[in-house]
Protein backbone atom coordinates (compact mmCIF):
# COMPACT_ATOMS: atom_id res chain seq x y z
CA UNK A 1 0.00 0.00 0.00
CA UNK A 2 2.80 2.37 0.99
CA UNK A 3 4.75 1.47 -2.14
CA UNK A 4 1.74 2.24 -4.29
CA UNK A 5 1.24 5.61 -2.56
CA UNK A 6 4.87 6.57 -3.21
CA UNK A 7 4.52 5.48 -6.82
CA UNK A 8 1.32 7.55 -7.15
CA UNK A 9 2.99 10.62 -5.67
CA UNK A 10 5.95 10.14 -8.01
CA UNK A 11 3.66 9.94 -11.02
CA UNK A 12 1.86 13.12 -9.94
CA UNK A 13 5.09 15.08 -9.39
CA UNK A 14 6.70 13.79 -12.61
CA UNK A 15 3.62 14.52 -14.73
CA UNK A 16 3.21 18.01 -13.25
CA UNK A 17 6.87 18.83 -13.80
CA UNK A 18 6.77 17.63 -17.42
CA UNK A 19 3.66 19.66 -18.23
CA UNK A 20 4.97 22.75 -16.45
CA UNK A 21 8.54 22.84 -17.72
CA UNK A 22 8.65 21.12 -21.11
CA UNK A 23 7.45 23.58 -23.76
CA UNK A 24 4.48 22.45 -25.81
CA UNK A 25 3.21 19.69 -23.55
CA UNK A 26 0.66 21.99 -21.88
CA UNK A 27 -0.68 22.91 -25.31
CA UNK A 28 -0.98 19.25 -26.26
CA UNK A 29 -2.75 18.45 -22.99
CA UNK A 30 -5.19 21.28 -23.64
CA UNK A 31 -5.90 19.85 -27.11
CA UNK A 32 -6.66 16.43 -25.60
CA UNK A 33 -8.89 18.03 -22.97
CA UNK A 34 -10.70 20.05 -25.65
CA UNK A 35 -11.27 16.87 -27.65
CA UNK A 36 -12.60 15.01 -24.61
CA UNK A 37 -14.99 17.87 -23.79
CA UNK A 38 -16.23 17.87 -27.38
CA UNK A 39 -16.76 14.10 -27.32
CA UNK A 40 -18.61 14.20 -23.99
CA UNK A 41 -20.81 17.13 -25.01
CA UNK A 42 -22.00 15.45 -28.23
Amino acid sequence: MKRRSVLGLGVIVFTSAMVWFVPGIDDGVESVFQLLVLLVSR
Partner: protein, 183 residues
Protein backbone atom coordinates in the same frame (compact mmCIF):
# COMPACT_ATOMS: atom_id res chain seq x y z
CA UNK B 1 -11.29 -11.85 -14.01
CA UNK B 2 -7.55 -11.17 -13.89
CA UNK B 3 -7.66 -9.26 -17.17
CA UNK B 4 -10.41 -7.03 -15.76
CA UNK B 5 -8.30 -6.24 -12.71
CA UNK B 6 -5.28 -5.41 -14.86
CA UNK B 7 -7.40 -3.24 -17.13
CA UNK B 8 -8.76 -1.38 -14.09
CA UNK B 9 -5.22 -0.73 -12.83
CA UNK B 10 -4.08 0.56 -16.23
CA UNK B 11 -7.24 2.70 -16.49
CA UNK B 12 -6.64 4.13 -13.02
CA UNK B 13 -3.09 5.22 -13.86
CA UNK B 14 -4.16 6.66 -17.21
CA UNK B 15 -6.93 8.70 -15.59
CA UNK B 16 -4.52 9.85 -12.86
CA UNK B 17 -1.87 10.99 -15.36
CA UNK B 18 -4.42 12.72 -17.58
CA UNK B 19 -6.12 14.46 -14.64
CA UNK B 20 -2.82 15.70 -13.22
CA UNK B 21 -1.70 16.87 -16.67
CA UNK B 22 -4.96 18.77 -17.29
CA UNK B 23 -4.95 20.41 -13.86
CA UNK B 24 -1.29 21.41 -14.22
CA UNK B 25 -1.82 22.85 -17.71
CA UNK B 26 -4.87 24.78 -16.50
CA UNK B 27 -3.00 26.21 -13.50
CA UNK B 28 0.04 27.06 -15.64
CA UNK B 29 -2.15 29.02 -18.05
CA UNK B 30 -3.30 31.26 -15.18
CA UNK B 31 0.23 32.68 -15.09
CA UNK B 32 0.34 33.38 -18.82
CA UNK B 33 -0.54 36.55 -20.72
CA UNK B 34 -4.10 35.72 -21.71
CA UNK B 35 -6.04 32.52 -22.22
CA UNK B 36 -5.24 29.67 -24.54
CA UNK B 37 -8.05 27.85 -26.36
CA UNK B 38 -9.96 26.46 -23.38
CA UNK B 39 -8.05 27.28 -20.22
CA UNK B 40 -8.37 30.70 -18.60
CA UNK B 41 -5.31 32.89 -18.51
CA UNK B 42 -3.87 35.72 -16.49
CA UNK B 43 -4.03 39.45 -17.10
CA UNK B 44 -3.80 40.71 -20.67
CA UNK B 45 -0.43 42.43 -20.77
CA UNK B 46 0.83 42.59 -24.32
CA UNK B 47 -0.71 44.75 -26.99
CA UNK B 48 -1.14 48.48 -27.36
CA UNK B 49 -3.89 50.04 -25.28
CA UNK B 50 -6.40 51.61 -27.65
CA UNK B 51 -6.96 55.30 -27.17
CA UNK B 52 -9.21 57.24 -29.45
CA UNK B 53 -12.75 57.48 -30.65
CA UNK B 54 -15.23 54.73 -29.94
CA UNK B 55 -14.69 52.15 -32.70
CA UNK B 56 -17.43 50.74 -34.88
CA UNK B 57 -17.38 47.20 -33.56
CA UNK B 58 -19.05 45.63 -36.60
CA UNK B 59 -15.72 44.06 -37.58
CA UNK B 60 -15.95 41.60 -34.68
CA UNK B 61 -18.70 39.74 -36.54
CA UNK B 62 -15.88 38.38 -38.68
CA UNK B 63 -13.86 37.27 -35.62
CA UNK B 64 -14.49 33.92 -33.86
CA UNK B 65 -13.45 34.86 -30.33
CA UNK B 66 -11.94 37.65 -28.29
CA UNK B 67 -9.95 37.64 -25.06
CA UNK B 68 -11.88 39.06 -22.12
CA UNK B 69 -10.25 39.93 -18.81
CA UNK B 70 -11.89 41.20 -15.64
CA UNK B 71 -10.00 43.42 -13.23
CA UNK B 72 -11.23 41.50 -10.18
CA UNK B 73 -9.99 38.80 -10.36
CA UNK B 74 -7.33 39.36 -12.99
CA UNK B 75 -8.23 36.37 -15.12
CA UNK B 76 -8.95 36.18 -18.80
CA UNK B 77 -10.88 33.81 -20.99
CA UNK B 78 -11.78 33.40 -24.63
CA UNK B 79 -15.40 34.30 -25.38
CA UNK B 80 -17.70 34.47 -28.36
CA UNK B 81 -18.52 37.95 -29.56
CA UNK B 82 -21.03 39.77 -31.74
CA UNK B 83 -21.84 43.31 -32.73
CA UNK B 84 -25.20 44.96 -33.33
CA UNK B 85 -25.46 48.52 -34.64
CA UNK B 86 -21.76 49.05 -34.00
CA UNK B 87 -22.08 48.00 -30.33
CA UNK B 88 -20.05 45.17 -28.80
CA UNK B 89 -21.66 42.22 -26.99
CA UNK B 90 -20.52 39.08 -25.20
CA UNK B 91 -22.67 36.51 -23.41
CA UNK B 92 -22.66 33.43 -21.27
CA UNK B 93 -25.08 30.53 -21.59
CA UNK B 94 -26.22 27.75 -19.26
CA UNK B 95 -26.65 30.26 -16.44
CA UNK B 96 -29.78 28.57 -15.08
CA UNK B 97 -28.16 25.15 -14.87
CA UNK B 98 -26.14 23.73 -12.00
CA UNK B 99 -23.18 22.92 -14.25
CA UNK B 100 -23.34 26.37 -15.79
CA UNK B 101 -23.10 28.02 -12.40
CA UNK B 102 -20.05 25.92 -11.58
CA UNK B 103 -18.42 26.41 -14.97
CA UNK B 104 -19.26 30.04 -15.76
CA UNK B 105 -17.81 32.15 -13.00
CA UNK B 106 -16.94 35.30 -14.90
CA UNK B 107 -20.52 36.64 -15.20
CA UNK B 108 -20.91 36.36 -11.42
CA UNK B 109 -17.55 38.06 -10.94
CA UNK B 110 -18.60 40.79 -13.38
CA UNK B 111 -21.65 41.49 -11.24
CA UNK B 112 -19.28 42.47 -8.43
CA UNK B 113 -16.80 44.45 -10.54
CA UNK B 114 -17.73 45.10 -14.14
CA UNK B 115 -14.44 46.63 -15.29
CA UNK B 116 -12.89 44.65 -18.11
CA UNK B 117 -10.16 44.66 -20.72
CA UNK B 118 -10.58 42.98 -24.07
CA UNK B 119 -7.86 42.12 -26.54
CA UNK B 120 -8.82 41.92 -30.18
CA UNK B 121 -6.25 41.40 -32.93
CA UNK B 122 -3.49 42.18 -30.44
CA UNK B 123 -4.99 45.52 -29.40
CA UNK B 124 -6.34 46.06 -25.88
CA UNK B 125 -9.49 48.04 -25.07
CA UNK B 126 -10.66 49.20 -21.65
CA UNK B 127 -14.37 48.44 -21.29
CA UNK B 128 -17.08 47.83 -18.74
CA UNK B 129 -19.62 45.04 -18.82
CA UNK B 130 -23.19 46.30 -18.76
CA UNK B 131 -25.80 43.55 -18.52
CA UNK B 132 -28.60 43.65 -21.07
CA UNK B 133 -31.67 41.89 -19.69
CA UNK B 134 -34.33 42.90 -22.22
CA UNK B 135 -35.01 45.00 -25.27
CA UNK B 136 -35.35 44.81 -29.01
CA UNK B 137 -31.56 44.70 -29.45
CA UNK B 138 -31.73 41.09 -28.22
CA UNK B 139 -33.69 40.04 -31.32
CA UNK B 140 -30.94 41.31 -33.62
CA UNK B 141 -28.18 40.01 -31.37
CA UNK B 142 -29.53 36.46 -31.04
CA UNK B 143 -30.11 36.35 -34.81
CA UNK B 144 -26.42 37.17 -35.36
CA UNK B 145 -25.33 34.67 -32.69
CA UNK B 146 -27.39 31.87 -34.28
CA UNK B 147 -26.00 32.68 -37.69
CA UNK B 148 -22.41 33.00 -36.57
CA UNK B 149 -22.07 30.15 -34.05
CA UNK B 150 -23.41 26.58 -33.63
CA UNK B 151 -25.79 27.96 -31.04
CA UNK B 152 -29.54 28.22 -30.67
CA UNK B 153 -30.44 31.10 -28.44
CA UNK B 154 -33.29 33.57 -28.34
CA UNK B 155 -34.49 36.77 -26.76
CA UNK B 156 -36.71 34.64 -24.47
CA UNK B 157 -33.65 32.70 -23.24
CA UNK B 158 -31.91 35.96 -22.36
CA UNK B 159 -34.98 37.40 -20.65
CA UNK B 160 -35.44 34.19 -18.63
CA UNK B 161 -31.88 34.48 -17.31
CA UNK B 162 -30.59 31.34 -19.04
CA UNK B 163 -28.25 33.48 -21.11
CA UNK B 164 -26.54 36.52 -19.63
CA UNK B 165 -25.76 39.15 -22.24
CA UNK B 166 -23.36 41.99 -21.64
CA UNK B 167 -22.57 45.04 -23.67
CA UNK B 168 -18.88 45.90 -23.54
CA UNK B 169 -19.45 49.61 -23.14
CA UNK B 170 -16.79 52.30 -22.88
CA UNK B 171 -15.47 52.44 -19.36
CA UNK B 172 -16.45 55.51 -17.37
CA UNK B 173 -13.39 56.06 -15.24
CA UNK B 174 -13.88 57.84 -11.91
CA UNK B 175 -12.67 61.42 -12.05
CA UNK B 176 -9.10 61.53 -10.86
CA UNK B 177 -8.43 63.79 -7.92
CA UNK B 178 -6.21 66.69 -8.89
CA UNK B 179 -3.56 67.26 -6.27
CA UNK B 180 -4.35 70.25 -4.08
CA UNK B 181 -7.92 70.59 -5.34
CA UNK B 182 -10.76 70.62 -2.83
CA UNK B 183 -13.37 67.93 -3.25
Amino acid sequence: MLWFKRLSVVGFWLVLVLSVAVITAAVKQRFEDGPNRVFSGGALIQGALYQGREPDWSFVNEIATIELQLLQPEQSRRVWVASVSGRLFVWSGYMNSFMGKLWKQWPLQAERDNRAVVRIDGKRYKRQLVRVREGAVLDDLTAIINEKYPSRTSRAAVESGAVWVYELAPRSEPTEMVQGARP
